[in-house]
């Protein structure tokens, strides 16, 4: 790939080291105040060691990154590469403002996590799980294995190339894709695919069957479920899912929604509806 070709041998060594270290970035979580700062420091340590020879400068750079850090980890490496390139500039240019490193890092957390979460959590994982579940439900070991492969191959490749992109393209790249509207297209594509997948999974995985029946004096009793299926297949699962969504969109805590569904299902069971 072109991205990795223009990078010098020493840079490559450093970026690869950052890439490998980035796998542990969420290993520790230092409370709500620092979040994943320790993992971030560990990940960019090779850059700090390389560009600052003086122990005091190294300490200053390390302290700079003890601030709150949290970005979807497969896209977070972009920021790690970017920070490495800025630390390099800071070590070379005397009038470079080191505060701008932290400022840029912090400003990218929201937007990058937004895209990263919806693509990796909302779409890729849902597709991988959809394939995995349908195989595993029949007891096939291919289910979990395919799930891991479908999710991890693209996400690890993204992690790798974004490390290099952050280092070589720098901060102007991010501004450009915002201004040209490409970011909006990317989000729309991700959401379209995600909603389609979730719709299909609502049909296949949310299950409701009533055993209520109307007895008839001479003949088979009429099952309510048959009527509901004729009306619209999967009506109850669809309504329950949309109901949960509506409650969540009204800012009802998810634990209450979970509890509500639990109580609803158990009550229906006690009443002999299911």
């Amino acid at each position: 790939m072109k991205l990795t070709k223009d990078v010098s041998k020493e840079d490559k060594k450093m970026l690869n080291s950052i890439f490998w270290r980035s796998f542990t970035v969420f290993g520790s979580r230092a409370g709500a105040s620092m979040a994943h700062a320790p993992g971030f420091i560990y990940s960019i340590m090779p850059a700090i060691r390389r560009y600052y020879k003086n122990p005091e400068d190294q300490a200053e750079a390390l302290s700079r990154h003890t601030t709150w850090y949290n970005i979807t980890q497969n896209v977070g490496t972009f920021v790690m590469g970017l920070v490495a390139s800025m630390e390099k500039k800071n070590s070379e240019e005397k009038d470079f403002d080191p505060d701008s490193i932290v400022a840029l890092k912090t400003s990218l957390m929201g937007p990058l996590s937004g895209i990263g979460d919806s693509i990796f959590w909302g779409v890729l994982r849902v597709i991988a799980a959809g394939v995995g579940i349908s195989l595993a439900a029949q007891g096939s070991i291919l289910g979990p294995i395919l799930f891991l492969i479908i999710y991890n191959v693209p996400s690890i490749l993204t992690r790798y190339y974004l490390t290099y992109m952050g280092f070589t393209l720098g901060s102007t790249f991010i501004e450009n894709i915002y201004e040209s509207g490409s970011m909006k297209l990317l989000t729309k594509a991700a959401s379209t695919l995600g909603l389609l997948m979730i719709g299909s999974m609502t049909a296949s995985m949310v299950i409701f069957k009533s055993k209520l029946s109307i007895p008839i004096s001479d003949g088979k009793p009429i099952l309510i479920q048959t009527y509901m299926d004729q009306l619209f297949k999967g009506l109850i699962p669809l309504l329950v899912t949309l109901g949960c969504y509506w409650l969540l969109s009204k800012k009802v805590n998810v634990n209450w929604v979970l509890l509500g569904v639990l109580v609803l299902a158990i009550t229906l069971g006690l009443l002999g509806v299911v």
């Binding site: 542990t24 970035v25 520790s28 979580r29 230092a30 409370g31 709500a32 105040s33 620092m34 320790p38 560990y42 340590m45 005091e56 390390l62 003890t66 949290n70 996590s113 959590w121 909302g122 597709i127 799980a129 959809g130 995995g132 579940i133 349908s134 595993a136 439900a137 007891g139 289910g143 799930f147 999710y151 040209s180 959401s191 379209t192 909603l195 389609l196 997948m197 979730i198 719709g199 299909s200 999974m201 609502t202 049909a203 995985m205 949310v206 299950i207 069957k209 999967g234 899912t241 969504y245 998810v254 929604v257 979970l258 639990l262 299902a265 158990i266 229906l268 069971g269 006690l270 299911v274």
Partner: protein
């Protein structure tokens, strides 16, 4: 039961701790955890099938920014262990997994967001002193401590919880059991609702219903739905890009126009001045 409890706790440590040590590679998802638990407890087949059902239930249990609605690892390990070792009805074990997952999520969040704060001054001190080895050690020690403590929940859950659960399940009346089974069927709705909140917009909502009908009436497998989805996205992207280009060109034109009119008005003023 002590051996089972130890093995279950070890499974949680490997899957949950391993997931976060190795780049969130999704080995914490029920699909994988179910398989691992089944392998360790000696019934791979049941483990895989339990994993598939639990994956659907916990589909929406996403750990975003340290906030999670339900913690799937503990829930999957306990439900699968109960089902394999104690022959608990699978549907009942699935229903049991939900309250366990919610409870475990509280403990996990308390550990990560509150207890681990005690390391903040240590990290600050080590950074100030340029103690790079210390920082590396703290990073990995925090990982170990967090997931070790968390695995204890499962250890005591199996050790202390196994007998009450077994007794409970024996005495459950039929209609309550039916209710518990129905819970397993309806709970995925909550997970999908959480994901929908992330992706839903009025403009795109028809795609949700399209996906629903594709499976409810056309019975398409999920790979087919995914491929059709990618095709729709590509077709839309071409159109959207064209629209975007037109929009951007218009912006440029209008910028040029305003510059022209500004220049014209300045000309006029000059003319007025000379008249």
């Amino acid at each position: 039961m002590l051996k089972v409890a130890l093995l279950a706790a070890l499974t949680v440590f490997i899957c949950y701790g391993g997931n976060w040590l190795f780049g969130q590679t999704m080995i914490e998802r029920p699909l994988v955890v179910g398989m691992v638990t089944g392998f360790i407890m000696g019934d791979l087949h049941t483990g895989i099938i339990m994993g598939a059902s639990l994956e659907a239930i916990f589909m929406g249990a996403v750990d975003i920014g340290g906030a999670l609605s339900a913690e799937p690892v503990t829930a999957t390990v306990l439900a699968t262990t109960f089902s394999i070792i104690m022959n608990v009805n699978q549907k009942a074990a699935l229903a049991l997994a939900v309250p366990i997952g919610v409870f475990a999520a509280f403990i996990s969040m308390f550990l990560k967001n509150v207890v681990m704060n005690i390391f903040v001054p240590i990290i600050n001190k080590q950074a100030r002193e340029n103690n790079q080895k210390g920082l590396t050690f703290t990073h990995f020690f925090m990982w170990f401590l967090n997931y070790f403590i968390f695995s204890l929940v499962t250890f005591f859950g199996v050790l202390e919880g196994a007998q009450p659960v077994q007794a409970l399940i024996k005495e459950i009346p039929d209609n309550l059991m039916a209710g518990l089974s129905a819970t397993g069927g309806l709970l995925p709705a909550v997970g999908f609702a959480i994901l929908m909140r992330m992706l839903w917009s009025k403009e795109l909502s028809p795609y949700y219903f399209l996906g629903f009908v594709m499976v409810a009436y056309l019975n398409l497998p999920s790979i087919a739905v995914a491929v059709i989805g990618v095709i729709i996205v590509i077709l839309n992207a071409y159109r959207d890009r064209q629209l975007l280009q037109i929009e951007n060109n218009q912006k440029k034109v209008s910028v040029v126009n305003t510059e022209d009119s500004l220049a014209n008005s300045e000309d006029k003023e000059e003319e007025d001045f000379f008249e």
